[in-house]
Symmetry: C2
Subunit: 313 residues, 2 copies
Amino acid sequence: MSLTVVGSVAFDGLETPFGKREKLLGGAATHFSLSASFFTEVRVIGVVGNDFTQTEWDVFKRHHINTEDIEIVKSGKTFFWRGRYDYDMNTAHTIDTQLNVFEKFKPKPSEASKNSRLLFLANILPSLQKEVREQSNAEFVAMDTMNFWISSMKDSVIETIKVVDCVIINDAEARQLADEPSLVKAARKIMKLGDLKALVIKRGEYGAALFTGDNYFAIPAYPLESVFDPTGAGDTFAGGFMGYLASQKKIDEAAMRRAMIYGSVMASFNVEQFGTERVDTLDYPEINARFRAFKQMTHFEEIPFERTNTTNV
Amino acid sequence: MSLTVVGSVAFDGLETPFGKREKLLGGAATHFSLSASFFTEVRVIGVVGNDFTQTEWDVFKRHHINTEDIEIVKSGKTFFWRGRYDYDMNTAHTIDTQLNVFEKFKPKPSEASKNSRLLFLANILPSLQKEVREQSNAEFVAMDTMNFWISSMKDSVIETIKVVDCVIINDAEARQLADEPSLVKAARKIMKLGDLKALVIKRGEYGAALFTGDNYFAIPAYPLESVFDPTGAGDTFAGGFMGYLASQKKIDEAAMRRAMIYGSVMASFNVEQFGTERVDTLDYPEINARFRAFKQMTHFEEIPFERTNTTNV
């Protein structure tokens, strides 16, 4: 297999200005794998409970996502999160978190998962991320994390950063992790925490930035009139980014730049409907059309300025 | 003359984490004209008091900025603003504002100013902006405004928008003006307030966006490790944008996109030192090097995704 992700598979309850849903298929590994499945073969390492039905399995099946490493715990229920978005749609307010079977989640990667060419450590306990990474033979490993782990166990987060190639986090997390308000300085500090080949900073409606060695690449977000449900946008971005990289023979700067675009493309679709609904029904012409839109909206001609009229200089 | 700006010429007092200055040359028209002077011939319409010395005039002179339309009021003092920036450098906290001679400022454009090809209405009372615009024969007119006018006299701001070709404001002002949290929806609403050819949204450390008809263009900001003094960055952006447009025969989409880059280039230099210090000493190789850096940091190859391995789709 080409790409393995370890992370949460969950049910989400949502309240937004656009409506309410009681039980949507969600979780970081779900959003990630669905997005990545358009570009490569994906395997998920996770855990679900006895409330996970054929309807949910069918979503994975439809996208040929390998679920052999998703453990089913018959005695418990699937991780459940309920949240609310207000008018500005920028911040998720947590109403309820029930870890359920996820509380004692102990990833058990199969041989096939261990031999995956790429590995993504979605947001779980940093020590578990490290364990999975250490069992893997992957050529390129990326990780996410979150404010909760950074404030409660920063050392453990840094230990995991030391064993990966790429960190994919949002700007607030980057500033918190580096304890540095300047994003550029924060990025340089994070790059030095380990032996990172790349650092991806997600900036929501402002786009995303890629730091690689001495290079810098930045893109705006796709200009959506309405954000319907931002849940999973970050994981969908990471899925597009890692999935595209898995489809490429060489994981170099040029491939990573295109991967940033494909990540942004997938995330822009994700927020257009509730949960996984929009990405579930995507097709390649839609993906490529939006990729072209990114090129169109960032293109300018490189013409250096020359003062032909020298009367006042 | 090619470009005329009407707006404030001022002294600024500044406190930042990087130091303190008692009296710096500042004001919107100052930052704008200095920036624009690298690209075209500029005229300033403004007013100063008896405390304006040869040192200040020399800054304009050095950059061949025409100051014939800057009125000198011998009985008063120049507009003075004192502000403070805290650690994050994002928000200016006003400590003191002394309007002085600016309080009764009544722009008196000369014939030369009226016949300028481009006109920029920097942030002054909207009715004064409108008066200057109505006396002008300019082919392309742009305006700025601010939260204070939008909240206290929105109708007057809209009346001015109706007589210009381009609005250049920051994202918070755009949201406030349109009473709409979605920036894209806000932009569409503002475009319809008048007969705008273009709307430029300045997003500070996140870059800038250009709306023109059905087109959208967005760029990240130059990745600076430290912002030394953000005062005047928006006016410096506008000066680069309008100055570059004035240097071009045709003010079309392609020229406006490059103007967005030159505006960003100039703004990125402006914040590197106090007040006008950095832009005052700029040269063309520096400007063009940073223009090239913008191309480098936004470039990616346009390669649509094709699934060559169809084993799982």
